[in-house]
Amino acid sequence: MSSLQSLFKPNSIAVIGASNNKEKIGYSIVENIKNCGYSGAVYPINPKEKEILGYQCYPSIGEIGRPVDVAVISIPAAPSLQVARECGQAGVKFLVVITAGFKEIGEVGLKREKELLEICREYNMRLVGPNVVGIMDTHSPLNASFADGSPEKGEIAFISQSGAMLLAILDWSRSRGLGFSRFVSMGNKADLNEVDFIWSAAEDPNTKVILAYLEDVTDGKRFIQVVREASLKKPVIILKSGTSSAGARAASSHTGALAGSDLAYDVAFRQCGVIRVQEMSDLFDLAISFINQPVPAGDRVAIVTNSGGPGIIATDSVERNGLHMARFSKETIEKMRQHLPVEASLYNPVDVLGDARADRFNVALEAVLEDEQTDSLLLLLSPTAVTEPEKTAESLVSLRKKYASKPIFASLTGGKRLEKGARILTQAGIPCFPFPEPALKSIAGMVSYTRLRQKIQRRTPLPEVTEKAKATVKAILYDVMRDHRSVLLGNEASQVAAAYGIPVAPIYLAKTPEEAITIADSLGYPIVLKVASPKIIHKSDVGGVQVGLENAAQVREGYLKIMDSVSRLLPGTPVYGIEVQKMMPKGPETIIGMTRDLQFGPLLAFGLGGIYVNLLKDVSFRLAEGLNMEEIEEMITETKAHTLLRGYRGSTPCDLCAITEALARVARLSLDFPEIKEIDLNPVIAYPDSAMALDVKITAANENEQEE
């Protein structure tokens, strides 16, 4: 994976479409390059000009006669292809195509974009865009964009799929005094996409935090592999839009983004250690927190306030954000009791009372920070007649130096009285908010980063299977495809599962009542009969299931009953026969499923099963990509089913290992066979010493059907 060093710190940069006309984008780009302090060679390209902004202008890129690292293209779409070719011939390494009029406008643009990509591949050029605002690196320094100037220097990298958002944030950041290391506009992501830029930012020594706004992920598999490694280095915070179905539709309209399952994105981000935010403001609040504060060791928060009401609100907010209130040691309580008035509340939240001056605050703050139980601190200050906001702020600042490993936040709820105090805190790098909630959201975000990083460390890989097993499955899938089906029959799915060691009660196909009896005799009674038809999903709803058949006569009768019922209720539906299965003893029902997400690959699900699964929705999810056994165990514990399985109200505990193993093998099957699109094991009965699926449904597809 390249670090894109020459892109962000090029030795030379050409601007094709540069102009002396102040109204044109071609002018803004050159102006930005000049004003940002870029120290390399600048070559404006315009056959009609001799000189632009003090730089010698060339008629074409081929005539410069010296190597060019980056070429920024800002001419209309149609001629841009020829120019791209010329850049390739001149040995340019990176193209930044500002021009719009590609995939985003439809068929004509799509063709054009494909051609552009081919040209880049031919000449080994990497492409940013097309349809971008540009790129900026404040440390390099470089501003190759048509934005209104550069951001302030800082340590946050911001990568955006929306150019407009980038421009808005740029302006806002300057008024907030918030600095950035990089601004990247990705545009159509024809070549370089979020994975490349996130990785590059993770490798960049000047970047401490990585922010991204995405509407979709181009290559899910690669995303998981690369971003997981990136998050181990630096926090990656992502805002992905299109979460609601209306939003998804809007995203599809905007970029043609696949309305992929938001659930899969959520799971993918968590598995990669990415912190996902839902609102724009959270993106930057969190970034500021990560820049200025250490990552907390745990989720225990201490609150020190001089106002009871806000204290309670903040406490509620702690729980709501999935954090905990720290419980102080006796020593801490004693320390505070000695110096604080009797009416003060010493148990978290610490209320030093409305008449507290800076000294009382100092006692409480120091005692609380000293306590081992405190992972992070929030100071809540309201203005009363005697409050000393500046002094209090200063003591917090000096305490921070002493307790540098614990993140400290402040919420100064008030107006002019607290302004100076707030400024002292902000300048010292202590994030200061007008209300407690955003502060706690930030702490929660940081805590989740700690948790996620810890998780990624452990990994026992999924089990492997033999070549013979794979060949068996391949053969079955081949037969299904040849029959022009997507849905496997019960007996076919049962064989696939058995090949991979997934425990399923075997299913055999009978085409006549006599055959059913023969199978039943060999399996042993009691027997279950189910109609075999790829078109019938809910078999019991159409009289397609007969259970508890104790002998041959009942099997024959059951067989005929099913055929009669199905042909009456669903005439014309193809029936391949009747599935014969031995009945299994009762037990707690769980469900194991896999659906292949279009971006991220197989998405595993586990939860409470049976016919109410769609109603109760007690399910946990993981992506099979990069999955390990520890992660699967954790997945099981996230559900209520887990409590049931461990033994609830007198029932015997079940074999969780068997369930874990089954899940792992389903994941392995999904990873080995991309043709398999859905797997549904429902119910999987959990017994004390094993697990057994009573039904298995598999949907497959031929990847290359009817290609012309």
Partner: protein, 354 residues
Amino acid sequence: MKSIFLGGMAGSGKTAIALGLALKLQDEGFKVGYFKPISTTKDLHQTQDQDVLLFQKVLSLPHGAEVISPVRIGPYCLSGGTKRSPESLKRKILEAWKTVAQDLDVVLVDGYLSPYTAASLGLDAISLIKMLDSTMLYVIRMEDDYSLDKSLFYNNHFRLSGIPVLGNIFNNVERTLLDKTRGVYAPILEEQGHVVLGVIPRKTEIASPTVQEFYEALEGVLLTEENVGLNRLVEDVVIGSMTIDGALSYLRRAPNKAVITGGDRSDLAITALETSTSVLILTGGLYPDVSVLSRAIEKKVPVILVHYDTYTTIERLHEVTRRIRPEDEIGIQIAKKNIADHCRWQAVVEYVKG
């Protein structure tokens, strides 16, 4: 000169059988002709019956379409007035027949719709067979046990009306009914003294309609390139109206499908294009986003826009059946192979000779 009349219900596949037989008989050295006494056009723009065009090309017939198919009627035929009197129509047919049958060893006569069609004009299958001194080859399409009842009833009726019956062919038999057809249905017919000449399994390559047939039935606007993807087979029709969450799993279940959804559902359309889809039908006259069209073009999936609603769309697609076109080389060969592999064509040869 012998003639074989292909009878059977509408959609049973008479024309494909006629095609296969014609080619096989040609191979055996016979001079073969084709006659379709009654036909129709279903398209405002077509002037010829498609089957006639097919046989003209395949058999290199020297006559014009008006001779090969002299009478055009439709569901409104009884209100035609004197021009449509049964007598004048019969005369027309007999005249054309004289021309068509000249210098040939055998003529295959294609029945129109079902055996009872045009009975009110005295031009039903049985009447035509008597008129042309032909013999019945009955083509049966099986769906369930009731279909057998129907065939038995018709065969008994043929016997009662005294027309010669060459035999029955079970056509386009689904894989799931194949065993039952061979083991139960055919024997029942034979027990009652009716001849079974063949059981032909369904071959989706000629039995399923293509996007072209759908396009003709819908009369919508083709939003993607002409002639790209129109020969894709359509094996299922699916309506996409659900929210996006369950859509992917649902759409994955049917390969080679037609997906019908509102033009404003870009999310569903794009998801459908990620599964095995043969054609996208967008309803309500709502022009789709460029992203949908780009993706469809990339995947070579035709997109048809209709201005009416989903229910109407389904209604119009009800009657879509596959036509083998003159350019469909593969389809023509399959039709021939079906007869060669699954039909007692030797019995037909015996009949033509003897």
